[in-house]
């Protein structure tokens, strides 16, 4: 099976509504950071979810880092899809570690993440950062 190419989408100040993306096949680590409120969430996220599905066919462990400090409700649907993909991976024996970084000044994010946990059945490490 062909090794996946990494996905790297750097942050862009002109389009702050797209998060930065780093999906590293060799390291087995994926990170979404910044904000997510683009017009067409499906167009942005579907290729990422396709990559994740392909990754899960080839590897047996993944670390997923969320450093999203704002996401709109359409994006939250796609985040839930990511969680569901990771849950299927775990059910097939894959090792999954999910880390969610949130600002001290955004305590509401804890509830959001708790809801993702409840909806997906996955555990998330909540990591508070200053700011």
């Amino acid at each position: 099976m062909e090794k996946l190419k990494n996905i790297v989408i750097p942050a862009n100040k002109e389009t702050p509504y797209f998060p930065a993306v780093e999906f590293d096949y060799e390291k087995g680590e994926c990170t979404l950071s910044g904000e997510s409120y683009m017009e067409d969430c499906y167009k942005f996220y579907n290729p990422l979810i396709d990559w994740l599905n392909a990754y899960c066919e080839q590897k047996n462990a993944i670390v997923f880092n969320f450093k999203l400090y704002y996401f709109n409700t359409q994006s939250s649907r796609m985040i839930l899809k990511i969680f569901e993909t990771l849950m299927k991976f775990k059910e097939k024996g894959g090792q999954v570690e999910i880390n969610w970084y949130y600002y001290q000044s955004d305590p509401d994010m804890v509830e959001e993440v708790e809801d993702f946990q409840r909806e997906s059945g996955l555990d998330v490490n909540l990591i508070e950062i200053n700011g």
Partner: protein
């Protein structure tokens, strides 16, 4: 659609197409205005986008001048400080037939507790959106969760076919 600002409690206002880059710029300005109250600022930022992106996507009045943007809904928003709250209001044209649906959404959401709203959001965001896209509804649920306050709304008939829908969300200043 007239926008009247005659009150110094209005901190920010806009009327026109709700292109994403316009909203992004305005939101950045909001962050600067309220950076000394970070918890309030974060909540305000979130509901600003929930309300305005609903207008961008669902307003019955559209401006597709720039093909670059997928959504060009026209409306207005105001950010006001009143009674130790920050109130975000949006106004946009809707089809008259959609008014009862929106009234029903708002009343239903206003009747729910926080826990009920969270549970409801979980149910509503799971299925793939189809012809009956519940995107606007989920946005209003999210506003109820973030603000912990009821939303206020008015419907003003313009003609047989169209009305003006105004929705206001309040964030407590902490």
């Amino acid at each position: 659609m007239a926008l009247s600002i005659n009150d110094s409690s209005v901190k920010l206002a806009y009327k026109g197409p709700f292109y994403i880059d316009v909203l992004s710029g305005m939101a950045g300005h909001l962050r600067q205005m309220y950076k000394r109250k970070p918890v309030t600022c974060n909540r305000l930022y979130k509901i600003f986008f929930e309300l305005t992106q609903n207008v961008a996507k669902y307003s019955a009045e559209m401006c597709q001048l720039y093909q670059h943007y997928k959504y060009g809904g026209i409306g207005s928003f105001t950010i006001e400080e009143k009674n130790n709250t920050i109130q975000v209001s949006t106004t946009n044209m809707i089809r008259a037939e959609d008014a009862p649906v929106l009234v029903s959404y708002c009343n239903e959401i206003n009747s729910m507790s926080l826990d009920a709203l969270r549970e409801y959001r979980s149910r509503k965001r799971r299925p793939e959106p189809g012809p009956a896209d519940s995107g606007a509804y989920i946005g209003i649920i999210q506003i109820g969760i973030i603000t912990r306050n009821k939303v206020e709304y008015t419907i003003e008939p313009l003609s047989e076919r169209f009305s003006l829908f105004t929705i206001t969300a309040k964030v407590d200043i902490e």
